[in-house]
Symmetry: C2
Amino acid sequence: MTDLAYQKIINELKTAINNGDFNETMKLPDERSLSEQYKVSRSTIKRALSVLSHRGTIFKKRGSGTFINPLYLKNNTFFKYNGSNLGITDSFDVPGKKQGIKLISFDVIKADETTRRDLFLNQDDFVYKIQRLRYLDDEPFLSETSYIPIKLFPDLTSEIASESIFNYMEDEKNQKVTNSYLTISTEPSTKDDQKDMHLKTNEPVGIMSGIFFLNNGTPFEISTMRVHYKYMKYDTFITVS
Amino acid sequence: MTDLAYQKIINELKTAINNGDFNETMKLPDERSLSEQYKVSRSTIKRALSVLSHRGTIFKKRGSGTFINPLYLKNNTFFKYNGSNLGITDSFDVPGKKQGIKLISFDVIKADETTRRDLFLNQDDFVYKIQRLRYLDDEPFLSETSYIPIKLFPDLTSEIASESIFNYMEDEKNQKVTNSYLTISTEPSTKDDQKDMHLKTNEPVGIMSGIFFLNNGTPFEISTMRVHYKYMKYDTFITVS
DNA sequence: AAGTGGTCTAGACCACCGC
DNA sequence: CGGTGGTCTAGACCACTTG
């Protein structure tokens, strides 16, 4: 998949951590040892550890060592950023459950003012409006409304929209979605939510809404996702400055 | 405040960007030029640019150059944690509203197994258990349960706990909370939530639960916050790899 | 072909932790 | 004090974009 040294080390360390290889001490080998072990410079080790640290997998203590973040091992979240794909399909990958997508609607409309602003469009640009319902093992858990400029993806079809658009972009068009802004919030469920996701009247939805960008900085998609509250779990690791 | 080269460059570039110095082309000077200009190695420039890129301030295009993220200039509210404080008091700062804290309980208890593991404690370590209710303009909006090891803060008092603990740490003890690992989720409100935060039975709470770390990597506090759904808003910027 | 960012090295020196 | 992570250097070579 990748032949970069630091990526390879990231993956191997992640595997080792998930494997429980360091569970006794919760501590990783020191950087100089890892450098010898993987036969790379200490800088490359630092780079790999830095990525894992920003993901919240590990944290470092100057003078003491590098440790596994205990919360990472709890691993009880549904929305997981796996380090290589920002799409929902991959982010909500639940082992042992099969994902499905049902296309609810697929239209081309004139972008309204807000959409134009967020996607950097001109007055007369058109966008696809796509509504989809996502399933885990035939259980609906997420309802999604997306807007994509037609000029960025003129040959998008309802067939493509019935599966993972991001994966199609990446596999077939060699374009990658590399950045996203998301705002996470929550609301009581609407009647539609209750019908779509089999919710009781007192059960809420999580809302994830934001913009996705291609790697050249072009805004690609606006999306609002309404998520069954039991599947609404988002992990975040924040570092000041 | 800091005398690190890469931090200084981050701040100077940020100022220049906010100043509109690069607005004509939306492009920053190339790395080799910046390296000469700031009289540091190219690696140090790369480090500074990398931080700004992860914050979403800029993005880089191999072969082309480094560009300002247009969204950064358009809407600064996305960058909520670019400031310098992870505390709730500062994070939920709503202009024009006054924050208050009501201390519900303040105890010292023996840490249970999970707490011990998460805070890296020994068998017989004790922790403060602190329950607080937070207000905006006399309207309760967040209920918080926290655990802090007594050995990290032996002189913590109920008076201090009645105000911002993070600000006290920073101002009086010169210790800074620099990292947090939070899981965000949502649930129907409980009877207690409804009473605490004046919620209707169908109105949910947002839940933010996780660990806060000091800048030396020591886990400082475990916290679970139940938030009135209208105040539950979390912004994220994600960059692949 | 020239210019730009990406990866990686080998090593120096500093700052902090715990014994 | 020894061991750990943090900062920074000077440079080599690679991969991609653009004219």
